[in-house]
Symmetry: C2
Subunit: 342 residues, 2 copies
DNA sequence: ATGAAAGCGCTAACAG
DNA sequence: CTGTTAGCGCTTTCAT
């Protein structure tokens, strides 16, 4: 448990006080901008000079302790490598108040939540906790000890805030798009059932397709890990059968999966989108540009992060109550190959 | 500066001590696992029960203050949206000791370092500081106040550790690859000169091409921002001229730029790789899979992050001296279209 | 206007 | 074995 001690001892308020010939209390007032009307300009100047020459900076640990305040927000995510994580993070930090600092917690190994990761977070004393895409089992195992925000969980929990995408609307848009192109037999690629949001995406699509006379014509392909490689491997084995079964479009619950499917199609010599259209619920803004054949439902992870940040500012700085928000989604259509089928 | 105070007061060691009828010192010993041989099993049990019923967890702030220890490592990066960042982060957290916590600092706006971001970091009291791809001007403006690691800066600074990719080797590999395919007229896409590492990449490629009778045949395309969109926009305007000038291969200093160039080529109807090969110094492991026509020099950002993490463990936990390391790079060739030219 | 003093919650000697 | 005693560096009444 050894950690850094005493690396070139930093100047303390006492050092400054001695040099400026004042008390530490005065130093405190000055560094905290509370000197106005309580400290003479002359003494304040002396203090500031001492601070400069000693390169003094307040010890945030001591300061936090003395004030009984917590200023660390923990962001827990299954996998920092997933674009969803980066985008949420980007949105989050871009709006988070300066007085708050953000610490990252991700599982040591594996690509999904490890309960111990979250408990590691809960062990510290946090101002707030943000959980990216937590699964059901995880949510059931934790009791919040500070304001907690659930991102893209597809669930709500008493006492926690939730922010989710409007997957209903996404299902409508995606179904309209596919039907408009003449697709009636669609395949779905998802991952395990633990995450309600992914289940919701699948359900929304299924309902809307059915309402329009189309169908999820084959059994879902369930990918073991949320990773391109994993989707690639699985798709390689089922895509030929799907095409044989008359499937002309594949929808993926996440863009990472869509990439894997695209790569598998390329490897198998299945032409996209002429022979097979690929669509994905999407978090990666450039995917449509990088792979023009991919139809995207933009889940705007960045905006999700920004909302979370603003909500946190409200809760922590302004003591606002928890909220549950739904974010609009957007269809980015790229698949222009219209087709007519019976 | 308001921050959270007093959200459902947490139990303190004193509360536990009172309930277990022991002193706080004993509580401290128990929670820190130092009870062995210093506390009777019976009292330890009493303490543990009290801890459980009160849901007591040590106040890390107070603990850190009492021990005079810093356990926060700050990771500063220009842009969390860049895959390079995610991968380094992933590598970093996967090996970082449990006693250390990681906080993220990124610029509020813009997509490159903002000096104030780093100074924000320096203001806290950190165990260590990790800077991802800092530019020259930034490095010149800071004096380290804690162990500092420079990642992919292409520079060294006294008192700081540096970890860089072996871009020399990458240049050799890339030149060999291109020449082997028959390319003799190459175009280079980079960004501003402030980052030494990007300059080194360009220089390495240039030197190796020259040594083999090939050449960077056109003036470099300098992209304003490190982003796919930015590269796309710029490439759109110069690619036709490059092709006219006999350029058959484009090398990009970063994979994000390569994506933009690929997209621009697609938009312009330039066939890749038949008409134009695109190669990139690469951090995104799946890029070759997603866009099979892209030749990659894998800079293994994840390994870079892991090295940084191990180095930090060494420095912080074992008091090892600063190091300067170079990481091997690897060519991932995908461009199989051999061509023969004069 | 300034300083003395009392903690914040914890850890680390040192006694007993 | 366990409790007492000092702090860690800072903030904040409350006197002066």
């Amino acid at each position: 448990m050894g950690v850094t001690r005493d690396l070139r001892r930093r100047a303390t308020a006492r050092d400054v006080a001695e040099l400026a010939v004042v008390s530490v209390a005065t130093v405190s007032l000055v560094v905290n901008g509370k000197a106005a009307g309580r400290v003479t300009p002359e003494t304040e100047l002396r203090v500031r000079e001492a601070i400069a020459t000693l390169d003094y900076r307040v010890n945030t640990t001591a300061s936090a302790l003395a004030q009984g305040r917590r200023d660390t927000v923990a962001f827990v995510s299954p996998n920092p490598t997933n674009p969803f994580f980066s985008l949420v993070l980007d949105g989050l930090v871009s709006v988070l108040d300066d007085s708050l600092s953000l610490t990252i917690l991700v599982p040591r190994r594996g690509d999904d939540y490890d309960p111990s990761t979250v408990h590691r977070a809960l062990a510290g004393d946090l101002a707030a906790l943000v959980l990216a895409s937590p699964g059901r089992t995880l949510l059931d195992s934790i009791a919040p000890t500070c304001p907690t925000i659930l991102l893209d969980s597809g669930e709500t929990r008493p006492g926690m805030s939730s922010m989710d995408f409007d997957v209903e609307a996404a299902g409508v848009g995606l179904a309209d798009h596919l039907i408009g192109l003449g697709h009636t037999r669609v395949g779905y690629v998802g991952i395990g059932r633990d995450k309600a949001t992914l289940q919701h995406r699948r359900d929304a699509l299924h309902d809307q397709l059915s309402a329009r006379g189309a169908t999820l014509a084959v059994a879902d392909l369930v990918i073991p890990r949320m990773a391109i490689q994993s989707a690639f491997d699985s798709a390689l084995t089922v895509l030929p059968a799907w095409v044989d079964a008359g499937v002309t479009a594949v929808v993926c619950g996440d863009d990472l999966l869509a990439y894997g499917v695209l790569a598998a199609a390329a490897r198998l010599g299945i032409a996209v989108p002429e022979q097979l259209s690929v669509a994905g619920f999407n978090n990666l803004p450039y995917s449509a540009m990088v792979t023009p054949s991919l139809t995207s439902v933009d889940l705007s992870a960045r905006e999700l992060g920004a909302r979370a940040g603003r909500t946190l500012n409200g809760i922590l700085l302004g003591a606002e109550p928890p909220v549950v928000e739904t974010l609009r989604t957007q269809i980015i259509a790229r698949d222009s190959t219209a087709r007519a089928r019976a």
